[in-house]
C-alpha cells in the first residue's frame, strides 16, 4: 500500500512538472519532446493502475508515433513562438480554469472512492465478461476478448475512424500542382 502511494506520488508530481514546463516553453521542439515524455510517464501511471494494454498502447502510440508526427509537422512550421507578456487574456483564462478546477475538485467528494470493490462500475457486466472470456471465448486476455468479440462493433467503428483520418490527412497534404501541370502539358501536346 505505502509503496504504491510513493510510486504514484512520484509519477504524478513528474507529470505535473512536465505539464507546467509545457505551459512555459517557447521553443516548439522542447514542447514536443516534453509532450512525448508526458505520454511516457502517463504510460507508467497506467501500469501502476493495472491497465497493461493501455500502457502499451500509450507508450507506442502516444510517446512514439505522435512525437514523430509532431516533428514531421514542425519541419513546415515556425520553430519558435511569438513572445507574449502576461496580459488580460491570461488572467481571464487562469480564473476560468481555477473556477472549473475548484468546482470539479469539490464534486470529487461525491465520486466513489478509488479502488473500492463495491463501486457501481464493478457491479454490472464485468463479471460476465471475465467469466465469458474464461469459458465461452477461452483466451486469457480479457481486454482482447472484449475488444474483438463482445464490443466488435465498437472496434470496427474505431478502425473506420482511423482509416478516414488517414485518408483525410492524405487529401489535405496532397500536392495537386504537379499533377495539374502534367495534365496541362499533356493537353498542350495533344492540341499540337
Amino acid at each position: 500500500m505505502i509503496t504504491e502511494i510513493i510510486i504514484n506520488a512520484f509519477l504524478v508530481s513528474f507529470m505535473l512538472v512536465i505539464a507546467l514546463f509545457i505551459v512555459n516553453t517557447r521553443k516548439v521542439i522542447f514542447t514536443i519532446l516534453l509532450a512525448g515524455t508526458y505520454s511516457l510517464v502517463a504510460a507508467l501511471m497506467f501500469v501502476s493502475l493495472d491497465a497493461v494494454d493501455v500502457a502499451f498502447t500509450e507508450a507506442s502510440v502516444g510517446a512514439g508515433i505522435s512525437t514523430i508526427l509532431f516533428l514531421a509537422a514542425l519541419s513546415f512550421l515556425p520553430k519558435e513562438e511569438v513572445q507574449e507578456s502576461f496580459n488580460k487574456n491570461d488572467i481571464f483564462a487562469l480564473s476560468i480554469c481555477l473556477l472549473i478546477g475548484g468546482l470539479l475538485i469539490w464534486a470529487s467528494y461525491d465520486l466513489p472512492m478509488v479502488g473500492n470493490e463495491n463501486n457501481p462500475v464493478h457491479q454490472h457486466l464485468v463479471s460476465d465478461f471475465i467469466e465469458g472470456s474464461k469459458n465461452h471465448i477461452g483466451i486469457p486476455n480479457v481486454v482482447t476478448a472484449i475488444l474483438a468479440s463482445y464490443r466488435g462493433y465498437d472496434t470496427f467503428g474505431e478502425t473506420i475512424v482511423i482509416y478516414t483520418a488517414g485518408l483525410a490527412v492524405f487529401i489535405l497534404l496532397y500536392n495537386r500542382t504537379s499533377k495539374e501541370t502534367n495534365k496541362s502539358v499533356k493537353n498542350e501536346i495533344s492540341k499540337k
Binding site: 504514484n8 504524478v12 507529470m15 505539464a19 509545457i22 505551459v23 514542447t31 509532450a35 508526458y38 505520454s39 502517463a42 501511471m45 493502475l49 493495472d50 491497465a51 497493461v52 494494454d53 493501455v54 498502447t57 500509450e58 502510440v61 502516444g62 505522435s66 508526427l69 509532431f70 509537422a73 514542425l74 513546415f76 512550421l77 515556425p78 513562438e81 511569438v82 491570461d90 480554469c97 472549473i100 478546477g101 470539479l104 475538485i105 470529487s108 465520486l111 478509488v114 479502488g115 462500475v121 464493478h122 457486466l125 464485468v126 465478461f129 471475465i130 486469457p140 486476455n141 480479457v142 481486454v143 472484449i146 465498437d154 474505431e158 475512424v161 483520418a165 483525410a168 490527412v169 489535405l172
Partner: protein, 131 residues
Amino acid sequence: MINEIFGVWNYWIVFTLMMIGLYIVISKKSLLKKVVGLAIFQTSVFLLYITFGKIAGGTAPIITNNSEEIYSNPLPHVLILTAIVVGVATTALGLALIVRINKAYGSINEDEISAVDLVDYHEKFSEKKNK
C-alpha cells in the same frame, strides 16, 4: 481523514492536469501549442477512466490459474485503448490542418491569422463599394 484524501487523490491530480490542458488551449496563441494542450487534456481524461477501473489489491485483467485472483475492471481499458489510437489519428488531422493554415497565411499565430483575415475582408468590402 487520510483514507478519505487518498480515496480522491487520483481525481484531484486528473482534474489539475485537465485544467492545465484547458489553460494552454485558452491562453496560448500558437495553434501547435493548442494541439499539445488538447493532448494533455486527453491523457488526463484517459487517466480518469482508468482510475475508475482500478480495484485495490487487484491485478491486470489477464486470467491466471489462481481462481481467487481479483481482476481490475477491463471495460474502461478497452474503451481507452481504442480512444488513444483514435486520438493520435485526430491529432495528425489537426497537424495537417495547421500545416495548410501556415501555407495559406504564413503564420500559425491566432492573432496574425485573424489580422490577415480582417485585411482581406476590408479589401473585398472596399472593392464592392467602388464597383
